[in-house]
Each structure stands twice: as C-alpha cells, then as structure tokens.
Amino acid sequence: MSIQDVYDAVVEFDIDKVVTLVNAEVASGTDVSDLLSNGLIGAMDEVGQRYSEGEFFVPEMLMAAKAMKAGLEVLKPLLSQGASEKKGTIIIGTVKGDLHDIGKNLVSMMMEGAGFEVYDLGVDVDTEKFLTTAKEKNADIICMSALLTTTMPFMEVTVNAIREQGLSFKTMVGGAPVSEDFAKKIGADGWSTDGPGAVETARRLTAK
C-alpha cells in the first residue's frame, strides 16, 4: 500500500479503489499534502498527458477526474486544517444565454483535479454573478465557456466589467467557437483548446 497505488487507481479510474486507498493512507498517517500532490494531482497530470498523446479518450479522462475528485473529497476536511496550500481559486460557468456545459464541466473537473478550488456557477451565468462570486470567494481566475457563437459577446462584457471596475481577476475563455485571436481581442488573459491545456493556462496565470 503506497501513494503509488492511489496514483495507479486514479489512472485506472477506479473510484471505489481510490476512496478505499486514500482512507487507508490517511489512517496509516501518510502526509496528506504528499498524498494530494503525488497521488491525486500527479495522477491527473499523467491522465492529461495520456489524453494529449491520444491514448486516453475523453470519457476516460472524465472518469479519472471523477475518481480523483472522490479521493479529494476524502482529503478535503483534512486539507482545510492547513495541511496544504491552495493552488488558486477559480470561478467557472457557461455564459448568459448558453446552456451548453459539457466542455465546461470537464474543465471544471480537471481544474479540481489539478488542485484548484473551483466554484462552478453552472449555465446561463451573467456578468454580475461571475463578479459577485469572484469577489466573495476572492478568486484568482474567472473562466467563461460558450458553445453558441451568438453568446460569445457576453465574455467580452465580463472582461470589460473587470477592467472598468478596476478588479484584479484574471480571465480565461474557452468553448468550441473560441479562438486564441478572439481571446486576445476581447482582452482575456488565457485561452485553451482543451481541458489539460486549460489547467496549464490556469497554472501559468496563478504562478507567483
């Protein structure tokens, strides 16, 4: 029994095994932050890697993220006692007028998998809700998703509002129609084509 077993169970997306193993590790006194970084988060990095190489299909990445999250739930009460520092806080949602959330949910899970504290506001989220929650949670990044080309302009509305109100939140945008050019044009800080890329971007934006 070791951290490596937890790591392997996540990569094999065996939810029950992850929970059992994490509980056992905690009971035997394994360092919680070590377990988190090298067991759970480390495993998700490998999952992202395998996905990028075409070995893992999307459902496998999703299942691994779910397994990781199940393990994280076990650790959460212990982590809040100060065992580990947060990687950063992320507010995420699909923009106003848009109900498409599959990609957003995947990114949300991957972000959690990478150790970020994630507040998922769901779908049809307006600027006010993004900003209110970001202020409340002292967020680092606001992530906005859209599938419909006609709802993309709402991303710009939020980015502008952050600028106008002099707030310090970083912004990331994603979704099928969102390109790097679009992200640059509206002044978003980050953009990615997929979940693992979004995690990389978020890490870059929150690097101290």
Binding site: G54, L99, L106, D124, T149, T150, T151, M152, D194
Partner: protein, 480 residues
C-alpha cells in the same frame, strides 16, 4: 424517385413508440416560463418548481393531427419563394460562423458586416442556393446592433429568402422592425414575411432553453415563420449508438413539434436536425463525419412517417481549408440525405465545423447543390425518353452528335460545371494547374467584381438608414 429506406415500417413505428415513451416517462426540462404554462394548459404534467414536463402520449398524438406537410421560405422577391417538398432540395448556406477566410490573404479572421454584404450578393447570384442563412457574425457591429448588423447587409444585397437567428428578444424585435420598414409597413410585411427565423430551442438531452424558446413562442404567436433544429451529439449529449441518438432526437423533435402545435395548430414545421457522433478521442465536434449523413437519412425517414418536410445542417465539413476533405464530407453526406428524401440542406460555405466562411467553398457548394438538384430531377422516365425511334434511326455504328434531339437537350441534360475541370491535362498545365479552390475563387471574383443590381433602391436605403441611426454601411465591396 424512390427514396432510400433504412428501416422497415415496424422499425419506424417502434422508434416513434420509443420516443413517446421517453417523452411520457423521462420528460423534458423546460427552462422557459411561458413554455411551461403552455404545456400545463394543454395536458402535459408540469412541475413548475423542477421545470420538468411529462408528455402523455395522447397529447403528442393530438399535436400530430395538426402537422402540415409543407413549409415555405418567403423571399423579398416572390420569384425566389420556395416551398418544400415540391421545390426540394432547398439548399441553404450554413450560418453564424464567427470567422471568415479572408479572400485576399487566405488567412482566417473575424467576419464583418462588409463580408456579410459580399456573401449576400454572391448567394443571390449563385443559382444552386435557394435561401441565404446569414453566414457569419459581424464583428464590427455597433453597440446594440448585433443582429441589425447582420440582417441589414443581408437583406440589402440578397433578394432570396433570408434566414437566421437572434440572441434575444430585443434583437428579434429590431430585426422585425427592419423587415417591416423594407416591406413598406407591418401589414405588408406580414403578407410576405421574408425573414425566416430559425433557432435551436432544444438543448440535448431533452432540455428547452430560455431565450430561443422565448423567440419561438413569440414568432408562433405572431403567425410568423419559424422552425427549430434538433442537435444531439452522440457520446456527449445523446447515447453513443446511432439508434439511441435517432430516438432521442426524434423525441426532442416531437417535444418541440408539440409545443409548436399547441401554440398555433397547423403551424408549418421542418423536421430539422444536426445529429452527430462526437469524436470520442478528443470530444471534437464532427458534423462532417459520415454518421451525420446516416443520422440525417434516418431522421428523414421518421419525418416521412410524420408527413412533414425534413432536412437540417447536412453537408458541413470539419476541414479548415477548401480541400479534398471539405469536398468529400459535403458530397457524401448530402448525397445520402438526398437519396433518403431530405428536403432542406443547410450546407453552404462554411469550413471548420461552422467556424469560418470561405468564398471558394460557397462556390463549390453551389456546384454540389446543382448536382444534387440534377440527381433529384432524375431520369424523367417516359416512353419518349427511351428514344427507341432515334436508336433505330441511327442504327449500329452511327453518331448522335448531329441530331435535333441532341441539340435540344445538350444544354439541359447534364450539369455543366464551372469549377470541376474537364480539360485535358496539357491545357490544365498551361493554365497554371489551378486547383478546384482557385477555380472557385475565380468564379466568386467574376460575380463580385460587378455591381449588385439586386441591392436596395436608394430611397429604401435612405429610409432604413434614417430609421436606425449608426447602421453599418452594408454594401458589397470587392477587390482581390
């Protein structure tokens, strides 16, 4: 022409029954308040709190009684009106791409209202296209004129039926105001409503959204033309089997059709879909995949069972340039759909799964459209067309070149393509080995270099511009 059938009668009936089971037992999540009330008033079981709606089967079967078999796209110029199924296949541009492939540089960039004006003019002139669905967004839209900046250049430069969507009610009402202004009054407009509204109010699986549903309800109540497209994506928002996705999509069509007929019994509809199978390796959207064509064929067979016109976004491509992939994806999927009896083909001009408009792609799609129309026209079976007397007259070893019969038919019997080459290799080499895309761009250039005769009159344009302050120019301007 006999249509390709994928299913037996009992299989078709089973898909219908299964769809009723889904609507009755699983139900739909309806996020629009008005729609919830309409469903409640008309016999559905509605939970106002959870927004869940269950459809007793007799409610759906009752709605089916008022389905009508035709749908008309109205144009500014009546000669361009088209009605399904009689005028099938109706070929439409793909719509609302954010980007365009710049005709000069070949690079992708955000599209503008000037681009829409050029595209509108091109579609007006290309005979294969029947309806102009506004191909792109307008990145230069002034604040508050997101939709006006699309519909104004479209209507100004294209007399064929114009089709598109609006993101909210304010935009929809502004667009209708524009329509009335162009028609010379609201009553005049209602006689010939030449803006053909389209939405995707159902978000798979089994969910009605807020804004699009609101627009659909409003337009139905107003007696104006509107239809919806059902868009399940297997492996993501519907089961990863063709049968499962067909059945879920069919249930969603019936859900939307039931709402439609509750609001206005006899309202014309199109059984329109963009049913796809996701590429599970990456989750990529794959409208160009062959499964899109297969699903369209199956949905069309279901539409025939309901006796409503059918079609959808069929003939899209995932290719990022106007290349071989672009051609075979559009060609194969539309051919399948045509043979299965689909009426409506939202296929023209877009690359990268609805991301970017390309002028060359639009010209090639025009040619594909002409081929589809030729195919639909078919063999024109008749005793006369067997040509037995001619065959006897010419006899063995003769020639048909110099016959009156040949002279009479030589301009009409075959599609005479402008893009596809039939040159000998040597001549083609002498011309600089132009590929299909460059030949297509040449055609686009030929059309767009001339002034647009179908443009708004100066009086009308002055009236429109006086009414909506700060409108984009909306004029076709072309130089390569």
């Amino acid at each position: 022409m006999e249509f390709t059938k994928l299913f037996s009668q009992s299989e078709v009936e089973r898909v219908h029954e299964a769809s009723l089971e889904i609507l009755e037992n699983v139900g739909m999540l309806v996020r629009n308040e008005k729609a919830l009330q309409i469903f409640a008033k008309n016999g559905c079981q509605v939970d106002m709190e959870t927004m869940m709606v269950k459809f007793p089967r007799d409610v759906v079967e009752n709605a089916r009684k008022s389905f009508v078999p035709t749908y008309t796209f109205t144009a500014q110029d009546p000669k361009f009106d088209v009605t399904m199924p009689g005028d099938r296949p109706i070929v439409v541009t793909g719509s609302s791409a954010p980007n365009i492939i710049d005709p000069k540089t070949g690079e992708e960039r955000r599209a503008t209202s000037d681009d829409i004006a050029n595209i509108a003019y091109l579609i007006n002139e290309l005979p294969g296209f029947d309806v102009f669905s506004i191909s792109t967004l307008a990145d230069d839209a002034p604040e508050g004129q997101f939709s006006l900046s699309r519909f104004y250049p479209a209507l100004k430069n294209c007399k064929k039926p114009v089709r598109s969507n609006t993101p909210n009610m304010d935009d929809l009402k502004a667009v209708l105001e524009l329509g009335a202004l162009v028609a010379g009054g609201e009553d005049e407009y209602r006689k010939r409503p030449f803006i053909n509204h389209h939405y995707c109010p159902v978000v798979s699986p089994l969910t009605f959204d807020v804004e699009s549903t609101e627009a659909v309800i409003y337009l139905l109540e107003q007696g104006l033309p509107v239809y919806g497209t059902i868009v399940p994506n297997a492996g993501m928002t519907s089961p990863l089997s063709l049968m499962g996705t067909l059945t879920l999509g069919n249930a969603e069509f019936l859900g939307l059709a039931t709402l439609t007929q509750m609001i206005r019994p006899g309202a014309p509809m199109i059984y329109a879909v963009l049913s796809t199978v996701a590429d599970m390796r990456t989750g990529a959207y794959a409208p160009g995949a062959i499964e899109t064509g297969m699903l369209q064929m199956a949905h069309t067979e279901m539409a025939r069972y309901y006796n409503v016109p059918s079609g959808g976004y069929i003939g899209l491509t995932n290719a990022h340039s106007n290349d071989a992939q672009s051609g075979y994806e559009t060609g194969m999927n539309t051919t399948g759909a045509l043979l299965a009896g689909a009426d409506l083909f939202n296929m023209g001009g877009l690359l990268g799964s609805l991301m970017a408009f390309d002028f060359g792609k639009a010209v090639i799609d025009n040619e594909i459209a002409l081929m589809l129309k030729r195919m639909k026209k078919g063999f024109e079976y008749s005793e006369e067309n067997l040509c037995l007397d001619l065959i006897a007259k010419v006899g063995p070893g003769g020639s048909y070149m110099d016959l009156d019969h040949t002279m009479k038919n030589m301009r009409t019997i075959a599609v005479l393509p402008k893009v596809a080459t039939r040159e000998m290799r040597r001549r083609w080499e002498d011309q600089g080995k132009p590929d299909a895309h460059s030949r297509a761009m040449k055609e686009a250039n030929k059309i767009l270099s001339k002034p647009n005769k179908s443009r708004f009159s100066d009086e009308l344009d002055a009236k429109v511009r006086g009414h909506f302050k700060g409108l984009v120019a909306g004029d076709a301007k072309w130089s390569l």
